[in-house]
Every structure is written in C-alpha cells, then in structure tokens.
Amino acid sequence: MSEIIELSSTDQQDAKRLDTSLQFLSFTLGQEEYGVDILRVQEIRSWEPVSRIPNVPSYEKGVVNLRGAIVPIIDLRERFQLGHSDYSPLTVVVVLQARMADKTRIIGVVVDSVSDVVDVNKKSIQSAPNFGAKVSTEFINGLVSVSGRMVMLLDVDKLLKLDGLDGEDES
C-alpha cells in the first residue's frame, strides 16, 4: 500500500516538475561542466575507433557505424579548444539528435565523462554573458547553477550548424 501511495505522489511531483523544469544530461570537458537537453540524447556509448574522414577539421574525428547508420563523431574538447586528451575505453560518446530543416540528424560527441541528470527550473536559467568576439557563446543556451557548480547548457541544433554539418554550405 505504502508503495503505491509513494508512486502516485512522485507521479504528481513529476507532472508538476514538467511544467516548470527541464532535465539536462550534464557532462564534463576538462574543468568545465556542460549540459544538453536529455530529450536530445539518444544513447551513451563508450569510445570505439572511428574511420577517419580526410581533409576535415581535426575535431571531426571521423564516422562510426551505429546500427547501420553512418554517424559522425565530434570531439567537443577540441571543438571548444580545451586541448586534447587521449581516448580510452572509458571515454564517453554521447549520441545526440539534432533537427535541421525537417530532418533529424544523429551525431556523436566525445566528452570526458557523463556526470548526472539534473533538473533545472526554467526560471533559474541565466542567459550566457556576452564576451564579445573573444569567446564564442553562440551555441550556449544559458547558464545554470547546480549545487554551486556552473553548468553551460548547449544548444544541440546550433552546435551542429556551427560545425557546418548541414551540408548546405558545401557546394
């Protein structure tokens, strides 16, 4: 009996929470902590060797076979110029879905480690400060504080656009 009551009360809590809060998957890159909308995360995998793609920026590591689909892998550390770290079987690849012109694209990003799933109240999201041209913050949706640490919320769609993966800038 008590179980059932508990369940229903968490259900209620969930419903309440959905209105005002979002869930983010947080991960670390070096000293920094980032978050992506959990609904955009398809899966989390461990690092496996990629097939290199010639003549592309070094942060585009290559492509892997994800159940028959060819999926590009991007090293976020290198993308954000946080230096390179060696890959080990413990290195994590977060597979994200991005929407672009009615299409859903799948992309894998390499991160140091996945930390947590955090609930974030919509109201507590602050907009990213403007550093002018010095620091590009285009792909950062906002900042949020989780138990005293700052988490940068990434905009997956913009992240991909910045990487020129929409294929339209190629001619």
Partner: protein
C-alpha cells in the same frame, strides 16, 4: 463520404494512367489490314474501366468523354465499323486528351474545356460518318451510370419509393457462378418487382453459346428500400455487369433525381474485393494482353509526376521467393542457436556448415530484395512507339522502331531517371538521324529508316543503345561548328571519339536549324549530366551516311556496388570495381615529373598523372611514400584517367552504399560510405572528385 472517397483517388488515377498507356500501345500496335479482335478488346476494356472508375468517383467530364470513345470502340469490336487510320488517330488524340483531363483533376487544376470539346467533336464526327445502325437507339446503361455521378446530396433526404435498375450482365456472368434469377428473387423479396428483359443482344441460334449471357434487364422494384440492400444483392456481380440504378421518389413533380453518395461509397470497396481476384484470372487467360499490361504499368514520367507517394508494382512470384528465403533463414537461425546452446568442439563442422548456409541465404535474400526494385526497361521503352508514330507522321518520314530486350530489368530509380534522357536521344535519332524517304532512296538505302532501341546486361551494368541507320554525324561539320562556337581551338587535334563527344558540350547544337521536335527539352549536355549523375556514362559511335549509335552504360542498381578495397596505411577505402582498369607496380624509369611537381608515369605510350592517396587524404600511417614500392591503380571516371598510388589491394566485395550526407556532409573525393564485415566504416572513393582534390 467524401473523405472515404479521397483515399481511393490515388489508386484510381494510377490505374487510369495505366489503362491509358494500355490503350495507347494497343492502338499503336493495331495492324489495320488484319485486326485482332483481342487487341480491340484490350483497348475497350481499358476505356471501360476508366469510364467506370471516373463515374464512381464523380468525374463526370471524364466518364462522359470516355463513353463516346467506348461507343466507337464498341462498334469496332463488334465489327460494325471498319477500323481506319483516321479513326485510330482520333482515338490516339482522345487518349492524350483524357490523360490531360485526368492529370488536371489529379493536380486539382482546371480542365481545358476547349481541348476536351474539340476531341469530343472529332469523336462524334467519327461516330457519325460511318453508317452504324443499331448503336444509336440502344439503351445505354453506361449513360445512366455516368449521369448518376452528378448526384446532389440534397436528393438523399427525399423519400425513396423504389429503384429502377438497369442491369446488363457481361457475357461471362453465368460462368462466374452467378445466377440472375436468384438475384431477382432476392430483389422481389424487398418489394414489388417488375422486370423487362432486353433481347437485343441475343445472337442467332447458330452463333449462340448457351453458356453466355446475352440478356439484359430493366428492373423496377417498389418500396422504401435502403440503397445498401439493393447494393448487397449486386455486390458479387459488380465487376461482371454494367449496373446503373436510379431511385424513384415519391414527389412526382421532381425530375427523376440522380442517385447519390452512399452507393458511391460502397462501390469502391466492392470493386477492390473483386478486382483483387479477377486480374489474376484474366491475366492468366490472355497472354496477349499480358504483355500489354506489363508495358502499361509505366508510371508517370518524372516531370509530369505530381506529388504523392511513389509506389511500385511487384510480381507476386518475387514476393513468394522472398518469403521462401526468409523461411529458410529462420530455419538456419534456429539450427545455429540450437548448436550454440550445447556447443562442443566436435560440432565445429556443423557450425561451419550452418554459417555458410546462413551466408548463402543472406546473399540470396539480399538479391531478392534488390530484385523487388527491379523493373523491366519496357516501362521506359513503351512510350517510344507513340513518339515514333507521331514524329514520323509529322515529318513525313518512314520510320520503323525496333525494341529489343524490353524485359531487361533495371532498378526503379534508374528507370525513372532514365526516361527523360532517352526520350531526348530517340527524338534526336528520329528527327536528325533518319533522312527523308527520297534522300534515303537516293543514297541507296531502304526507304524506311530503322531506329533500334536495345537494352541488355553486360557485367554489372545495363547497356542501352539507341541506334539509327540515318545519315550519321559529320565530323568535319562538328569540328567547324565547335571552332565557330569557340569551344575548341582551331588547331586542336581531336580523335574521332573526342570529335563526336563535342555534341555533349553545352551550347552545341547538331541541327542546322532547330525544329519543334528536337529544339525543346534537354540538350545533350544535360543528357550526359543526367546519365553521369546515375553513375553511368554515354558513348557515341557514328559513321557518316551509315548511322549513329549512342550507348548508355548504367549500373544495375544505385544501392549496391561491386567494390575493390584498397589499403592506405591503416585505412581502408573502396574503389568502384567498374572504374578500375588495371593495377601495377611501376618501375623507376617509367616515372616522370612535370614541372618538378606533378608526377606522371608512362603506360603503353600514355602519360598518366599519379595521385598519391596518402597525400591528398593526409594519411600519416602510409607504409611507403616511394612510388616504386606501392601499387598504382589505374582508374577512369568521367573520361579522366589517372593512377592512384596506394599501399595495397585487399579484396573484392559487394558493398551496400550508405549516404554520408544523411548525418554528416559531402566530402570531396568521397561518394559515400559502406560498412565492412567487421562493422567498421569504409569510404567509397569518387574518381572525378579525387582528381579535383589533387588539382587543388
């Protein structure tokens, strides 16, 4: 109700267009001297289904128009009218008109009324000019049927006092096990029934086949009977008779209103059920119409194709094979899992056996799945007899069109994309290739020119040839023109092949003056680009005064490729097998440098540029950078020949082409990717792209 109808529209349009194609090819194949009744029947049947369908769906204009055509065809079928060339031409024109009408309806645009009226007038004239006695007065149930389509929903509300039903069974009604008397009895149970029989169709006793039904009836049944009950009785014979019914209303002042929606909504359902069975039967019976139907399956050509999903008709036998294959696969799978449960080393042989079986089944399954996408090339070819007919009569030329290898199968995508370029090539041959009859006679050739369309398989490719025995290409003229247009230098030295290829240059016209036949549409450069986009190439051979042959080589399918895997350092790439000419070790003394940089090597008198794969793809792990230690693969793509410097050749395999662009982007020098046996991804190389990359 209207919502229910809309879902059948697509099917109706598809079937109608197929019917029109069947009519067209039937008309073109008519041998006026010796008319085969079955041919006329095929045409008639197609017209009839279009009329029936359009009536059901409320496209009155179409059904009215088809009705006139049908009347004409009917008289021809019965031998009451001689089949003349003008009549056939009028009918062909009407087929075009009908196609336009259906297309306008499908696209939701206005039907060109003047055009329709013009063709209808021509048909009427044709109908009237011959003495065809009996047809005029004959009560025509079809007319009722088409009228019924103009139903007004308002009529629905009126009190129904009964039904007048015109029931004309087809000849074979009795053979399908349907008994009119029983139906009448059922009708009588609904209300007061009066029947009037029409004996007009009954032939002479000598000609009478007792198993055929020559009678038709006019039935009137009185009483407040829901339409569905009447329909139920005729449900089973829907396809075997011409049926029209009109409600009788109680208010006598009303003009007999036309019947309405509920009937319409039921019809398609009944149609579908019965049709699904009957085509198989009729097809089996009539081998003649079979070939026509196959041809007629042609979908709309790309430019006219409206929005909407594309569908494909698949031979049932292909699906059966597929099901068989899957069955075998399941058996093998269960065998293997059984083996896996209690595996001991002495069962290794069994395991190996099972695995090889699995491999075989998978390959067969793959082949049969690919097979589903394969369509006979006749889907494209079937339009050409009409084209030849029209152009030859327009230009006053005598042309015979020969189609060879129409049953050669090609991937659906290829078929669709091939159609426009082929039309252009055939038009060129008909217009520019074949000379006027007097010119031909003067040149000592037969008066009738021949254009041959041929398709056949060669290796993993399909080859399509358009050959004519016309005047051929004049090399000197081509050259002069190219110089005049500034496409080549005046002192350029060109081989024969290169000269002929001038006609593929943009802005080059082979005709002295454009005619409206070949002037419009795509140019030869577009033709070549389209073919190349399909991964094929196009070649031209010609002899002045003897004719020209244009051959198109295309891969059988766009989804699977015969590949050669090559190694560069740690990396594996796939080269399309078709692009590889040879592979060789090259000796130091064959190597040359152009301007100190560009490397070439001498192969049978030809200097070929060398592209170092490790360099253009930045492979740091390459085993060797010395040209003499690696391997040179001579490849060709879009007329460009070069040697790729690689570490090693690995093996040949069929690879499934996957798009890189789906989740990533286009990469220069790479046409796609594939997944290798070990699950890793390998890139498929694109030769022209590599050359561009190397030139940067």
């Amino acid at each position: 109700m209207s919502i229910d109808m809309a879902q059948f529209h697509q099917v109706f349009f598809e079937e109608s267009f197929e019917g029109l194609d069947a009519m067209e090819s039937g008309l073109l194949n008519l041998d006026l001297g010796d008319v085969n009744v079955e041919d006329i029947n095929t045409i008639f049947r197609a017209a009839h289904s279009i009329k029936g369908g359009s009536g059901t769906f409320g496209f009155t204009a179409v059904s009215d128009f088809t009705h006139v055509m049908e009347t004409l065809l009917d008289e021809m079928r019965d031998g009451r009218r001689k089949i003349t060339q003008p009549a056939v031409d009028v009918l062909l024109g009407s087929v075009d008109c009908l196609r336009d009408m259906l297309q306008s309806i499908q696209n939701g645009s206005e039907v060109d009324q003047s055009d329709v009226a013009e063709h209808k007038l021509a048909l009427d004239n044709e109908l009237n000019n011959a003495v065809s006695s009996s047809s005029a007065g004959k009560p025509s149930p079809e007319a009722l049927a088409s009228n019924s389509a103009t139903a007004l929903p308002a009529d629905e509300a009126k009190q129904i006092a009964g039904w007048v039903i015109a029931f004309s069974p087809h000849l074979h009604l009795l053979k399908t096990g349907n008994e009119p008397v029983r139906m009448f009895r059922e009708l009588a149970s609904l209300g007061h029934l009066t029947t009037t029989v029409d004996l007009q169709g009954v032939p002479d006793l000598y000609d009478l086949d007792p198993e055929e039904c020559h009678l038709s009836w006019k039935l009137s049944v009185l009483g407040d009977i829901p339409e569905t009950e009447v329909d139920e009785i005729f449900d089973w014979v829907e396809d075997d008779c011409d049926l029209a019914k009109q409600p009788i209303y109680q208010t006598p002042t009303e003009a007999p209103p036309l019947h309405s929606a509920p009937d319409v909504a039921i019809n398609p359902v009944a149609n579908r059920v019965t049709e699904d069975v009957s085509p198989e039967l009729t097809r089996a019976e009539e081998s003649e119409s079979n070939s026509l139907e196959r041809k007629s399956g042609k979908k709309e050509d790309a430019k006219a194709a409206p929005k909407g999903s594309s569908s494909i008709r698949v031979d049932t036998s292909k699906i059966d094979t597929l099901i068989n294959m899957v069955g075998e696969l399941v058996i093998t799978q269960s065998m293997l899992s059984l083996l896996g449960e209690h595996f001991e080393l002495n069962k290794l042989d069994q395991l190996k056996n099972g695995l090889s079986q699995l491999e075989r089944h998978t390959r067969e399954l793959q082949e049969s799945v690919m097979n589903i996408r394969m369509l006979p090339i006749s889907f494209v070819f079937s339009r050409f007899p009409r084209l030849a007919h029209d152009i030859s009569s327009k230009l006053g030329k005598k042309i015979e069109l020969k189609l060879v290898g129409e049953n050669t199968e090609v991937d659906k995508t290829v078929v669709e994309l091939l159609s426009d370029p082929l039309v252009h090539l055939v038009r060129n041959s008909l217009d520019h290739g074949i000379e006027m009859p007097d010119v031909r006679l003067a040149a000592g050739k037969p008066e009738t020119g021949t254009v041959t369309l041929e398709a056949y398989h060669r290796g993993g490719n399909i080859v399509i040839e358009v050959a004519d025995d016309g005047k051929g290409l004049d090399k000197d003229k081509l050259r002069a023109k190219a110089i005049e247009k500034g496409l080549i230098d005046a002192d350029a030295i060109l081989s024969d092949k290169q000269t002929y290829e001038l006609i593929f240059m943009p802005g080059f016209s082979t005709a002295e003056k454009l005619t409206d036949i070949s002037g419009r549409g795509v140019g030869m450069d577009v033709v070549r680009r389209n073919i190349q986009a399909l991964g094929g190439n196009i070649e031209i051979l010609s002899e002045l005064g003897k004719g020209s042959t244009i051959s198109i080589h295309l891969p059988l399918t766009l989804a699977i490729l015969d590949g050669q895997s090559i190694a560069v350092g740690d990396e594996t790439y796939i080269l399309p097998l078709g692009s590889i000419i040879e592979s060789l070790h090259v000796k130091e003394d064959r190597l040359n440098r152009v301007a100190g940089k560009g490397e070439t090597f001498l192969l049978r008198g030809q200097y070929l540029p060398i592209i170092r794969m490790h360099q253009i793809f930045n492979v740091l792990t390459a085993k060797t950078t010395k040209l003499t230690e690696g391997l040179i693969v001579v490849v060709e793509g879009q007329g460009l020949r070069c040697g790729l410097f690689v570490d090693d050749l690995l093996g040949q395999q069929q690879v499934v082409i996957k798009s890189l662009e789906a989740n990533y982007r286009r990469i220069e020098g790479v046409s796609g990717a594939t997944i290798l046996g070990d699950g890793s991804v390998a890139l498929i190389l694109d030769i022209p792209g590599l050359v561009r990359l190397a030139n940067q």
